[in-house]
Symmetry: C2
Subunit: 411 residues, 2 copies
């Protein structure tokens, strides 16, 4: 008999009909013999409705009071699901974040979980009840209601699974798992049976919006096996777990991630003196602009070229900061490009395989795609290319790394 | 500097605009120097919307879970008002029933308040904050959310006023006070400056739906001065208080109450043996039918006639029970009438004035209104008459007891 934490998002509980479907699903799992803790979001649209009410009062809602309002969304869904379960003869009880006691810090609207009291939940599980917990919310040491910020229900699920030492944390979503890449770009993309936390983090941060990054970090830190599944379709989903089988044969690359959210900025003819990188990036950072990739070319004639990427929304702002810097440090010119895309190959397998990057470059060269920037990490190689080649590049890499093959079976 | 508890109902916080108006009103009071605790209901319609959600899941919502859902209504309004106050520069903080700690018993959906922790509220008041508390809800000793049942926000206001030893509990409504009778029936009806708890209880239980009976009982028990005021119009309202001025001149009658909710049942030719009243009313009570007025005529020929009134909704049911009883005890016949009305004169003044009842009967006789039943208590005389004479009777009594005169001034 396993202990499973199941998390259903806003779309999965978006109507009474959906809640009834979730109840059916939970009932089936319960009858299979597992102990279940179910974490719910608010009905889709409800959180926005509540925020909108507050915004009608003031553009700058007081964070403490906003949490009092917004936390009511999950409070409604948990009780509705508990009722729907009891109607089906499944003993159930609902708990708000305060009732469980999910203790957080006092950073309203973006609180972090400090501690979870598992006493009540364990007693209920022992008594045969399904425990339905409000996601996304907690309580601080003074009894103030807090929320974890958008998407925080995933984190609640993982944190509960960690506190209860659950066998698995299942995140139910509107996709049936994590794919080798976006199926809208590559029809041959296939669902992964397994992926490591590290890979998932790289995939997620690169634009695969299946899971909240924070919940994956949390799951990795506490080694909570995480499974992504479809709310209303049957299927094994994708298990996200630590890499326990390094010795076994495994694919080098797990997936191809990409995004078109970035823009590139270049400053040329920078006098190559010590501390030049700080002189350039310091003012960018001071303007609260996040920098992703950074490339500095080798110097010639005692000057160097320096290129980095920022989010496209911050391109104009960054450009202005950079022009100012160029004048101050005597650089030759500033240029930029918003028509770029970033493509990455991700896989823990590349740790033990040489030549992965060159295989990537070869595949792109074959398609005559020019590489503008390169950056590498232990389990990822990213390149920046012209935006119009994005789909072509993703498909070429998906084939080159043999991801088009039928899914391998669960071990 | 006084400490005032102000309670605003669902209509008063029924929209963002209304909440802003309440905030203005609270701000003005605050600036006048009083310490304020504000108790709110849910936005009008919200409680029904929430109950309807639950009813879509099941006809018989689990009471504990229903309370979890329904309590979110006030949780939203308190935070919205706290925001609206802070926007106006008035320091404020919101508390749910659980956060204050309004401890109740575990009778979900109709819980009773056992104890209120005044520590947090006193600290906030001391710090200059307006404290906004969710009405209608509390928490039981196990941390379960409870609700006090419909209209319970008035009770929350009074209980808080009692716990805090507040100088006054102000109930803001859609009327500007308690009237001598329903102004729709008697245009000359006038607002009372003052009324005693006892009188208010008689008026309320007879159909003046200004205040919840339970909150008046509560206020009387703990001697909390209660004031009924209009939410959005200026005016002193009506103060409900203990009768401190018995020696002073005061009107004999404070008001005329009436209702048409009752029906009359008569059982004739009942063998007059000891315990006959119990034999007749026992089965009625066992059927959960509440009896209001009871009249037993003097016996003749060793039989007696017995008449009582029940709520009109229970007339059919009571009639069937009574017919059964008639067969069992050998009574002659059962008859009934739903076209009746009850009219009462209410006033603590009648304690010290003889002849009040006969003055009432005289006024009705002048209008040729036949009296079918009479019942009296220390501060009330009620009569049952034919329904069609109701308005005529109320107007005649209003004039006979000199209630048409202009309002007396506050002492």
């Amino acid at each position: 008999m396993a202990l499973i934490v199941q998390k259903f998002g806003g779309t999965s509980v978006g109507s009474i009909e959906r809640i009834e479907q979730v109840a059916e699903k939970v009932k089936k799992h319960r009858e299979a013999g597992d102990d279940l803790v179910v974490v719910l979001s608010a009905m889709s649209g409800e959180t926005n409705r509540l925020i909108d009410l507050a915004k009608q009062i003031t553009d700058q809602p007081v964070p403490r009071e906003l949490d009092v309002i917004v936390s009511t969304g999950e409070q409604v869904t948990i009780a509705l699901l508990a009722m729907a379960l009891m109607k089906r003869g499944v003993p159930a009880v609902s708990y708000t974040g305060n009732q469980v006691r999910i203790l957080t810090d006092s950073a309203h609207n973006k609180a972090r979980i400090l501690q979870i009291d598992d006493q009540k939940i364990r007693a209920d599980l022992k008594a045969g009840r399904v425990v339905v917990v409000a996601g996304f919310q907690g309580v601080d040491e003074h009894g103030n209601i807090t929320t974890l910020g958008r998407g925080g229900s995933d984190t609640t699920g993982v944190a509960l699974a960690a506190a209860l030492k659950a066998d698995e944390c299942q995140i139910y979503t509107d996709v049936d798992g994590v794919y080798t890449t976006d199926p809208r770009v590559v029809p041959q993309a296939r669902r992964l049976e397994k992926i490591t936390f590290e890979e998932m983090l790289e995939m997620a941060s690169l634009g695969s919006k299946v899971l909240q990054i924070r919940s994956v970090e949390f799951a990795g830190k506490y080694n909570v096996p995480l499974r992504v599944l479809h709310s209303f379709k049957e299927g094994p989903g994708t298990l996200i777990t630590i890499d326990e089988e390094e010795s076994m044969e495994q694919p080098i690359i797990s997936g191809i991630a990409f995004n078109r959210d970035e823009a590139k900025l270049t400053i040329r003819g920078v006098p190559d003196t010590p501390g030049v990188a700080f002189k350039i990036l310091g003012p960018i950072s001071a303007s609260n602009i996040e920098v992703d990739m950074i490339v500095q070319n080798v110097s010639h004639d005692n000057t160097t070229d320096f290129t980095f990427t920022v989010h496209r929304n911050e391109y104009e702002k960054a450009y202005a900061v950079l022009e100012n810097t160029a004048r101050e440090i005597g650089a030759r010119e500033v240029s930029g490009d918003t028509k770029i895309a970033k493509v990455s190959i991700v896989g823990v397998g590349m740790r033990s395989h040489a030549g992965v990057a060159s295989r990537m470059f070869e595949a792109l060269a074959k398609e005559s795609i020019n590489i503008q920037m390169i950056s590498t990490s232990e389990i990822k190689v990213s390149v920046v290319i012209e935006e119009k080649y994005l789909e072509l590049a993703v498909r070429a890499l998906h084939t080159a790394f043999e991801l088009d093959a039928p899914a391998r079976q669960s071990e």
